[in-house]
């Protein structure tokens, strides 16, 4: 009897040791990705040109806001510029323009800091509900280790700020109903609703989070849910109508009507497969946790958020969309998988009696101690497996080159970068590499060419014009959005091209409407190409 007890104690002690070693290994792996992320962010923050397509136009939006102007303009009137994004991210960045002028670093820094806040909030949510510090840290780091988050986190783009506001909203509302003090409860509700509105006015995609949050509030207390929905509709609607009136209807045309793009189901399927391939180790526990809450416990806001965000990711198949559309679902996945892990390690699973418990749980109750022991090994292995699945790192440099040789990986993306995603799905961001001095030299060469003409320059990326001190003309992808929705005339811009009023045209992805590209082809000739950041920029001059 004593021997059996001693044996059990030894086994338990050995299991705890194995768990600690494996958890430490998981922590080291995920911390490594955090270091890679910081290196990448530091590199991008110093890069003075567009890194990802369209960043420069977010900077133009910011400049316009800093001057007290709306970016929602008539694209048929010179300089043919408009934006399709809500204003909040650019409004937050606008004060930097007053002090530092037009530059990319502060937008990228804001994006990067936003992801750190999100990671912290994920960790806090897991710790608050799961009471396991190490799992909470792993959950936050897992978010930053995701290939998708890594790609877009330190960009001058609003997407990750939206995810930050979404995460803060669900964090505020998750336990707001249980707050006894009326004043504090009211403050939590108001903060949650303010964060939802902030997310929606950072990027339209946040509507899914609003639906999930309101559904949660309705389930927990229908009266509060209805009141919250009314407040949200009233405040959000008033802002919407106000901007629309102030911009003579351009707000509706540019941010809503022009955003209805073609849907490619194959792109959605490819991105969902890729999402599972990269995040499957944490997606499975997250899904199991959702099922658990649906049938054996109370539904949390995190589960509803995950379901809504995953369903919303179907839109990743739209033209112009991509893997970034999964970022919200990844944040929710990190929370839920963390809660799954914490419950397993602390033995906090409870199954409410119902018809499913009788068939699915009760026959296996005798295996509970065995499953609990297995959990000590499986949980850290899930994080280690996740760490292996999301492998991404530069393969050049004093540290990364020897490390990549040890790991036996070779660059499979631009500029010496390895990405386990392998770039197999359409819509997957073809970025992540570090920029080099050669890229900066290439960018400066294009700026010199832009400076060399007295005429205006039509550039597909804004940086060259901004750094040359010239006016930015058009936002090509927005023209294409409008053209695809039959809301673009283009005759004034085409006339300028036909009259060769631009001294130079700079193309990269050629995301202009076909009619514009035809006019360029007729009036301008391909002069030279300048390499920058893995792309060839085509320089055209009047024929």
């Amino acid at each position: 009897m004593i021997q059996a007890a001693a044996k059990t104690e030894n086994t338990q002690s050995a299991l705890i040791s194995v768990n600690r070693i494996l958890m430490a290994a998981a922590l080291v792996i995920l911390f490594f990705y955090f270091v890679v992320y910081v290196v990448y962010a530091a590199n991008l923050i110093q890069f003075p040109f567009d890194y990802d397509q369209g960043e420069g136009f977010e900077l133009v939006d910011t400049i316009l806001f800093s001057q007290g102007k709306w970016p929602y303009l008539d694209t048929n009137v010179y300089p043919f510029y408009s934006s399709n994004y809500p204003p909040l991210f650019h409004v937050i960045a606008a004060p930097f323009v007053w002090f530092f002028g037009p530059a990319y670093w502060y937008g990228r820094l804001l994006g990067f800091l936003g992801t750190l806040v999100t990671a912290w909030a994920i960790g806090y949510a897991v710790y608050r509900d799961g009471q396991h510090k190490l799992v909470a840290i792993l959950s936050g780091l897992a978010f930053l280790a995701s290939n998708t988050v890594y790609h877009i986190g330190p960009l001058f783009r609003q997407h990750m700020s939206m995810v930050m506001f979404e995460m803060l909203a669900v964090l505020m509302l998750a336990h707001a109903n249980e707050i006894v003090d009326k004043q504090k409860r009211r403050r939590a509700f108001i903060a949650g609703i303010v964060f939802i509105i902030a997310a929606g006015y950072t990027k339209q995609l946040a509507y899914a989070t609003a639906i999930a949050a309101l559904a949660f509030l309705f389930i927990r207390n229908p009266r509060r849910g209805i009141i919250s929905a009314l407040i949200l509709a009233l405040v959000g609607g008033a802002i919407f109508v106000g901007i629309n009136v102030a911009t003579n209807g351009q707000w509706w045309l540019q941010t809503v009507a022009a955003n209805v793009n073609d849907f490619y189901p194959d792109q959605t399927m490819g991105l969902f497969r890729l999402w599972f391939g990269l995040h499957g180790f944490l997606l499975i526990p997250a899904v199991l946790y959702v099922i658990y809450e649906f049938y054996f416990d109370r539904l949390s806001i995190y589960s509803l958020w995950f379901v809504a965000a995953t369903a919303n990711s179907i839109l990743s198949g739209k033209w112009g969309a991509g893997d970034s559309y999964f970022a919200t679902a990844i944040a929710a996945m990190c929370v839920l998988s963390g809660l799954f892990a914490a419950r397993t390690l602390t033995g906090q699973w409870h199954f409410a009696p119902n018809y499913l418990t009788r068939f699915l749980i009760n026959p296996f109750r005798r295996f509970a101690p065995l499953l609990m022991s297995a959990g000590f090994v499986i949980i850290p292995l899930l994080y280690i497996g996740y760490g292996r699945a999301v492998l991404h790192m530069p393969t050049t440099g004093a540290v990364f080159e020897p490390l990549s040789q040890i790991l036996g990986i070779e660059a499979n993306a631009r500029n010496g970068f390895y990405d386990s995603a392998g770039r197999i799905a359409g819509g997957y961001a073809d970025i992540g590499h570090l920029t080099t001095q050669a890229d900066i030299d290439g960018g400066n060469a294009i700026v010199d060419l832009v400076k060399s003409t007295d005429k205006p320059v039509l550039s597909e990326e804004a940086a060259f014009n901004l750094l040359a001190g010239k006016e930015v003309i058009t936002n090509p992808t927005q023209l294409l959005n409008l053209a695809n929705n039959e809301s673009y005339d283009g005759s004034a811009l085409i006339a300028m091209i036909e009259n060769q009023e631009f001294g130079l045209i700079v193309l990269r992805a050629q995301f202009y409407p076909p009619a514009i590209l035809r006019a360029i082809g007729d009036a301008y000739s391909h002069e030279e190409e300048v390499a920058m950041n893995g792309f060839n920029y085509i320089i055209l001059r009047p024929k």
């Binding site: 207390n221 229908p222 189901p265 109370r298 369903a311 179907i314 409410a352």
Partner: protein
């Protein structure tokens, strides 16, 4: 009543009704707009699948009776 949490049964009913109405609504797009080309498109098929899933999840929650959702 509005100050109390929904039960699993009530949630199940809501999901089931929502799924059925959503399914009929999506099919209805083609019935009402008969001039549309291509029949039920890929986006519609995905939406129909989601509505079926919603209704089925609702059905499985209905037997859970008065357990708070």
């Amino acid at each position: 009543m509005l100050k109390k949490s929904l039960t699993k049964r009530q949630l199940g009913l809501l999901l089931f009704i929502g799924g059925v109405i959503g399914f009929i609504g999506i099919i209805g797009i083609d019935v009402l707009d008969v001039g549309r080309e291509g029949g039920i498109g890929p986006a519609q098929r995905i939406a129909l699948g989601l509505m079926v899933a919603l209704a089925l999840i609702g059905l499985t929650l209905i037997p859970m009776k008065d357990t708070p959702a």
